[in-house]
């Protein structure tokens, strides 16, 4: 009996060992390649950003598109979503390195340069554009961020999120201001009229601890003055140029010199600024997109706010200097890029066509809040909503950010400059010379990454 029992236990263990070897081999094979992602002609996978405000409505839209596409082509579409840009970046890095992953990636506009630098995404041919519905139906400003040059586009615009400003109409009325400012000089003057520190009310806001707002705002100032972050040929970093220094200083002047922004807002991120706006403590909040509307609609300022494009003439000037652009917003939105490893590229572009058609674009905009890139769909929405009209007006002056592979470095370097300057203001040792030295350091870091 004892012998039998020992044997059966051994046999059991041996069988377990064999099974484990088998499982390990399978697992490793799974890691190494196989059918995961990549598309096989019968299916397509899409990696899309999850709507933070309307995930349910977005899911319904995706289901509808899947059903319609399967009916049209017989190809099944599966959707995988991400909640943060970090998740998006990691997925992209993994997919590019392993040659495995989704067929279609939805990228934010500033992510395109980094994605293109990896060389992991398919450059659209004229035939691909035909399958994707063509360029002519899409806002031309959005196409400027679809790839490093017009002949090397790696993506098709999907939705747009132009930036504008929102203002408190009640505070405007009390201050006797009849219309939103068109120049930054008017902006400062209007903000001074609104500011009442005894009530905790300020005409404007700044959010130096945000990872994105500072560079977006500085970038519009810089372009309006005719300057750049990176030279036109993308070879030289220009963060230490006088225009960039002026732009950064002007923004911090709001808190330190003109006193039109809360001097104690150095730890603010965009959500903190929005919170102050919805509490009626801020007259004008700049660099916001349509995504803030659901929050505003259900807040204290309900019915007391309106949107307008941001001013386009630099501070202290009546008109833009030579080379200055009426940059009221960066070109912003989502883009659809097909991975080089995808075995179902034709199907992918057909799906992209469906996603950018007139009806689906209107439905997506209604579901999620982003604006359509399809011109016909955008015109229709502008005729129906004042908000859409203001943002589409801002889009007319949208200018692209530099298509350099060093963009991610530039973003983090400038966020770092902003955080350090905010710290200096809080500690009482802020000075223009500090702005200069921090920008010079950031410039060196970005220059090292330019190819």
């Amino acid at each position: 009996m004892v012998k039998k029992s020992t044997l059966s236990r051994r046999e059991f263990l041996a069988a377990g060992g064999v099974a484990m070897v088998g499982l390990s081999a399978l697992g490793l094979a799974g890691c190494g390649g196989g059918k995961s992602g990549g598309g096989n002609g019968g299916s397509l996978s899409v990696f899309i950003d999850k709507s933070p405000t309307a995930p349910g409505a977005q899911k319904q839209w995706m289901d509808k598109i899947s059903a319609q596409f399967q009916k049209q082509t017989g190809v099944k579409v599966s959707w995988d979503s991400f909640s943060s840009s970090d998740e998006e970046q990691r997925k992209m890095e993994n997919a590019v390195t392993t040659g495995n992953g989704p067929d279609i990636f939805v990228f934010g506009s500033t992510f395109i340069p980094s994605a293109q630098a990896t060389g992991g995404f398919h450059v659209l041919t004229s035939n691909d554009w035909k399958l994707a519905g063509g360029k002519s139906r899409i806002f031309k400003q959005q196409l400027t961020m679809a790839g490093t040059s017009p002949d090397k586009l790696i993506s098709v615009p999907f939705s747009m999120r132009p930036f504008a400003m929102v203002y408190n109409t009640e505070l405007f009325r009390k201050a006797g201001i009849s219309s939103p400012p068109k120049t930054w000089t008017e902006f400062v003057q209007d903000a001074k009229k609104i500011t009442d520190p005894s009530q905790g009310v300020y005409g404007a806001e700044i959010d130096p601890a945000d990872s994105y707002d500072p560079w977006k705002i500085w970038w519009t100032f810089v372009r309006q003055m005719g300057g750049r972050f990176v030279s036109k040929d993308l070879k030289t970093a220009l963060l230490d140029s006088p225009e960039v220094q002026k732009a950064v200083q002007f923004w911090f002047d709001w808190a330190t010199k003109y006193k039109i922004a809360d001097p104690h807002s150095m730890t603010w991120q965009s959500t903190d600024a929005l919170r102050a706006f919805v509490n009626g403590k801020v007259g004008m909040q700049i660099m916001i997109s349509t995504s803030v509307e659901p929050t505003l609609r259900n807040s204290k300022v309900k019915g007391k706010y309106a949107f307008a494009p941001m001013p386009t003439v630099p501070y202290g000037m009546q008109q833009r200097p030579p080379g200055g652009e009426p940059a009221s917003t960066i070109v912003s939105g989502d883009y659809l890029a097909v991975a080089k490893y995808s075995k179902a590229k034709d199907s992918a572009y057909k799906l992209i066509k469906l996603m950018t058609d007139y009806q689906p674009q209107i439905q997506y905009s209604k579901a999620v809040g982003d604006l359509p890139v399809n011109k016909k769909a955008a015109t229709y929405l502008a005729s129906k909503s004042k908000t859409a009209k203001a943002f589409i007006e801002a889009e007319q002056n949208a200018t692209p950010t530099p298509m350099t592979g060093a963009w991610a470095t530039l973003e983090v370097a400038l966020a770092n400059v902003s955080a350090k300057l905010g710290n200096a203001v809080a500690a009482g040792n802020y000075s223009p010379s500090l702005v200069k030295s921090l920008l010079e350091k950031a410039n060196q870091q970005v220059q090292a990454q330019l190819r």
Binding site: V96, T97, S114, A209, T267, N416, Q449
Partner: protein, 318 residues
């Protein structure tokens, strides 16, 4: 508790060279596990070391194996803080060590005291035990967001309270500058003290009641019972809990990331955050790997003590 002779502990001497049978056990069954460890731990580690000598970034990631050789450049940048975050691996290591050791030192007495308060039977004990666990079960990112709001200057609860009792200005900055270290540490202490509490409570439950009775008969005071009976009994468990706790705090990435984002103040740039931002936000995988290797080499010292403590535990348990 004397240690057994080796011959008793391992009755069958392994047959050298056979590799198949030790003490009647089919040792070849270990191979799948060894293989997995090789693929999951050893090979990625070696790749990490290799990457630390490369200029691996967004331009070269697709064909990473052929990325240009960087020599010791990444190590020099990592040690001197020449990266975009401008915080060296050594500075970050200092922040991480201070953060993890301090948090452990503060949470230990709190955890022990809390465990002692609910060790004996009383009405409502289950409720208090549950309440103690609340901060520990809240997801870290929620804790970080809550405390970020509380530490906001001007409107946050912390500044309002400090200003109300006349200790500090209502506009004391906690999320930038040197105080950010304290904001992060206080939040961590609040969130994880219950770990020590759980471990100590488990230890307390295993102390035989006879020991208390004997101490009682000998006329021991409560303090004597704590120092002469309870703490010596908990020594092994507490040592392990402190080590695990320190390592847990050391590896906490979520809390500083949610509280300070991708441009953290230097005093809150803990090592995991520095390496993450460098590698994944800035695409500088070579520098990120070099910083990881530097850390690994330095952390081998406490790791040695950790492994030693585990071995001691094994011997005691035998």
């Amino acid at each position: 508790m004397s240690r057994q002779p080796a011959s008793e502990a391992f009755p069958a001497k392994p047959k050298r060279g056979s590799g198949r049978n030790v003490g009647g056990r089919p040792m070849w069954l270990l191979w799948p596990s060894v293989g997995l460890i090789l693929f999951v731990v050893v090979i990625p580690f070696l790749i990490g070391v290799y990457i630390s000598f490369l200029n691996l970034d967004q331009y070269t990631i697709r064909d990473w194996i052929h990325a240009p050789w960087a020599g010791l450049e990444n190590y020099i940048t990592g040690l001197t803080g020449g990266g975009v975050l401008q915080t060296s691996a050594l500075t970050s290591l200092g922040v991480s060590v201070a953060f993890s050791v301090l948090t452990t030192l503060v949470t230990t007495p709190i955890g022990i005291l809390a465990a002692l308060t609910v060790n004996t039977q009383f009405r409502g004990r289950a409720l208090i035990r549950s309440l103690y666990l609340i901060p520990y079960v809240i997801p870290t990112f929620v804790t970080a967001l809550l405390w970020r709001m509380m530490f906001l200057n001007g409107t946050g609860l912390v500044d309002r309270f400090l200003s109300a009792i006349g200790v500090a200005s209502v506009n004391t900055y906690w999320l930038i500058g040197p105080r950010s270290f304290w904001a992060m540490t206080i939040t961590e202490i609040w969130a994880v003290w219950a770990f020590i509490y759980i471990m100590v409570l488990a230890g307390l439950q295993s102390i035989p009641t006879e020991l208390y009775e004997v101490a009682e008969l000998d006329g021991a005071t409560s303090w004597q019972k704590l120092t002469k009976v309870v703490l010596p009994q908990l020594k092994g468990l507490l040592g392990l809990a402190l080590l695990l706790s320190t390592l847990f705090h050391f590896n906490n990435f979520t809390l500083p990331f949610v509280m300070f984002g991708s441009s953290p103040p230097t005093s809150a740039t803990v090592l995991p955050l520095n390496i993450y931002v460098t590698s994944f936000n800035l695409f500088d995988f070579g520098l990120g790997s070099a910083m990881s290797v530097i850390t690994l080499i330095i952390m081998l010292v406490p790791a040695f003590f950790y492994l030693r403590a585990l071995r001691l535990g094994e011997v005691t348990a035998r």
